[in-house]
């Protein structure tokens, strides 16, 4: 029986993973864009990205564009797999196959 992924299930982390999974593989989102899409604050978003990065679900790349620092977050293959399994589990729960 499939289990819900506790790391992904937290509401903001679920939104982060959903946003990153909507993009083609290896394409990431800038921190500012991710903040706008999820409606999170800087600190909150940063903390949850760190949790996902520690689990190996996202990679974080920091670079300078001109003089401005830019952080790009990308879902890893492991993260995409975990997200797909999490969504499948949610669908199973709705279908009544799990209590």
């Amino acid at each position: 029986m499939a289990e819900l992924d506790d790391i992904i299930h937290q509401p903001l982390r679920l939104k982060i993973m959903a946003a990153l999974n909507a993009l083609p593989a290896e394409v990431g989102l800038e921190f500012v864009r991710l903040k706008k899409l999820t409606g999170a604050t800087d600190g909150n978003l940063g903390a949850h990205i760190e949790t996902l990065a520690k689990a190996g679900y996202v990679s974080v790349e920091k670079a300078f564009v001109g003089k401005k620092p830019q952080t790009t977050v990308t879902a890893t293959a492991a993260g995409r797999g975990a997200f797909a399994r999490h969504v499948a589990t949610l669908q199973e729960i709705i279908a009544g196959r799990q209590a």
Binding site: H9, P11, L14, K15, P24, V27, K36, V87, I93, A99
Partner: protein, 183 residues
């Protein structure tokens, strides 16, 4: 373990986030197109005001530059996001839209002044239809430009209408593009 209503709420959150990502991608590429068309509409109207006899050739040139610009924007966006936004079907669609507009102008025997008002209103009709499906920003931009075009058509006399259209059409599209970039 969670119950089915919580699972359903989580899936709704996912769908909503994915919809927002798609919308932001559409806005990102559309904003570039709007900025380009804003600049071209401004230049086309000002050039038409300076050289009214060459108006037809000026607009053919504007549409030619616009087609090349769309290809460049498509290539740029694809290299950045790896998502293909323009292909042959889009150009065929634009071609059909332009052909129908020419057909209407020819059979309606529109005067140059009527054509000056017709084309922006006609193009904005498609913007507004896109707005119904992809994001209300298009609807707002389209409706505003249509309203201002009609005001110009009824209240701005003579060739000065082209200056009005340079500001309304060029300026409106540019502002719309900038607004979309911030959305």
């Amino acid at each position: 373990m969670i119950d089915s209503s919580e699972a359903s709420a989580a899936l709704t959150d996912i769908e909503d986030t994915v919809r927002r990502v798609r919308q932001s991608q559409i806005y990102e590429v559309s904003s570039l197109v709007l900025l380009m068309w804003g600049g071209l509409a401004f230049v086309g109207n000002i050039a038409g005001w300076f050289w009214p006899r060459y108006g037809l050739y000026i607009w053919f040139a504007v549409y030619g530059v616009s087609a090349v610009g769309l290809i460049i924007i498509g290539v740029y966006h694809r290299s950045k996001s790896r998502i293909r936004v323009f292909d042959g079907r889009y150009f065929l669609t634009f071609g059909l839209i332009a052909a129908f507009g020419i057909f209407v102008c020819y059979f309606g025997q529109f005067t140059p002044r009527q054509q000056t008002a017709f084309w922006p209103i006609y193009i904005m009709l498609f913007y507004m239809m896109a707005g119904v499906w992809f994001g209300y920003a298009f609807l707002v931009i389209g409706a505003t430009i249509v309203a201002l075009t009609l005001i110009g058509y009824f209240y701005i006399p003579g060739i000065s209408l082209l200056l009005w259209m340079a500001v309304v059409n060029g300026g409106g599209l540019t502002l719309g593009g900038l607004w979309m970039r911030r959305s």
